[in-house]
Symmetry: C2
Subunit: 264 residues, 2 copies
């Protein structure tokens, strides 16, 4: 059971990684940044702790100080670390982290699922995405609509939980944000994508029922956007998010049960 979970996580990680576009994993400093970030987010390097001294660290992971420092700069831009002369480079307190940053969200997939965090993300999504759907219904161009429709077809025509299906799901929600024509609002699309990915990350691949229900939810949202009915789109998007939240919470509960029965 654990093995299956681990395997699933592995494939999921690759997918998530592919979406984090800002950090080039081919480059050395990118690998270092990734490694440090994961250590910070999992809590292996607790807040306030000193990162290993530059000279020691470069020795430990055998990269030059240059690469290490560029990685630190990259992370400091996201608020994960703060470097001060003489006192050292410290892991920043969690309140300073930019939890809405796409990379930071993606790095969380490397850590164990944190139920509170996932609930918080869903809560935020519930505040934002129905409003986004309303705007999308009101402001969409024909091009926006075809993009949303294409994504929906991608969900419907591919096998459940296959990679193209997941991508289409993400594309559906991204297209809705794009149709709002509000760039700052669009910056919250990664939060929505993260909740979707958490949901699928936790899911057993044979859960046909939820997939069908979710597809219907999506179709109803799409229909409201076709009709340019903002209030209806918002209401239906609320329903979609709540359904997704409930099913994800059940998965989290099941997972917790499995863990306790295993450790007991």
């Amino acid at each position: 059971m654990l093995a299956i979970t681990e395997e699933k996580r592995g494939s999921m990680q690759l997918h998530v990684k592919a979406r984090a576009t800002r950090l080039n994993p081919d480059r050395l400093f990118g690998q270092v940044a990734h490694r440090l970030a994961v250590a910070i987010i999992t809590g292996a390097s607790p807040a306030g702790s000193l990162l290993p001294n530059e000279d020691d660290l470069k020795d430990e992971i055998s990269v030059s100080r240059t690469a290490y420092r560029e990685a630190v700069k990259f992370l400091s831009g996201k608020g994960l670390v703060e470097a001060k002369p003489k006192s050292g480079t410290r892991v920043a307190p969690r309140e300073a982290w930019n939890l809405l940053d796409p990379d930071v969200l993606a790095w969380h997939f490397k850590a164990d699922p944190n139920e509170k965090f996932i609930r918080d993300l869903f809560e935020l999504r519930l505040f934002v995405e129905p409003s986004a759907a309303r705007l999308a219904a009101q402001r969409r161009s024909d091009a926006d609509l075809s993009r949303i429709e294409a994504a929906f077809r991608g969900m419907a025509e591919n096998p459940p939980y296959a990679e193209p299906t997941v991508n289409a799901d993400l594309a559906f929600h991204e297209a809705i944000f794009a149709a709002t024509r509000n760039p700052p609002l669009q910056c919250l699309a990664p939060v929505v994508c993260a909740t979707i990915q958490w949901s699928l990350f936790l899911k057993a691949p044979d859960d046909q029922f939820f997939f069908t229900a979710s597809l219907i939810d999506h179709e109803r949202v799409l229909d409201a956007i076709v009709q340019r009915d903002g209030d209806l789109a918002a209401a239906r998007m609320s329903g979609l998010v709540i359904d997704s939240l409930n099913s994800t919470l059940r998965l989290l509960a099941g997972r917790a049960d499995a863990n306790t029965s295993k450790t007991a």
Copy 2:
């Protein structure tokens, strides 16, 4: 008139700068990053354009390649630039920018006011802050409440538009976000602070009427949070945001009029 506006902006910039904690302006790479970021956000370096070649640039602003590269890494973490090996470092398309990042928001104050952008920020705020107020009313601890109350007193007891008053205003809204106990949601507090600062940035300092009205709006929100009435808090926060939006739009319109009459 222009001179006054410029002077006001100058003082405002200092204030904003003081709140951008992630970029240390004492450090050289921080100054370079700031300079590049402003050039990008104002549009002086258009999207897709190549940044000056590393060797040329280091010569132009007389810093070493190291400092320049670290600045670029800092900015690439926010999506402002993307450096690809051999082809050069390019300004990223605006869709890639993380517009919710506190630093990115702050850098916008160096550019001319962009009405669309300010409206978008207010729109997002209108989606988020009433919900935040609802959660704050439901979840606040006594400590949260005293923090909010202290901020309100700071607004009421200091002269209108003075620096302590502005800080208290920002602290009031930050404290509400803190009381939601939802870290990802709290990451949106900078957006709210940015809209407030834009509003004050544009305002004539002698507008007593708006200040008094705003104070009453704040008091009503505080009252709802004291009563732990979530729906009431949300409704009153909506009112506060809408009042602030309307007054800001008037200021923008007035500013546009002044500009056209001046250029005409």
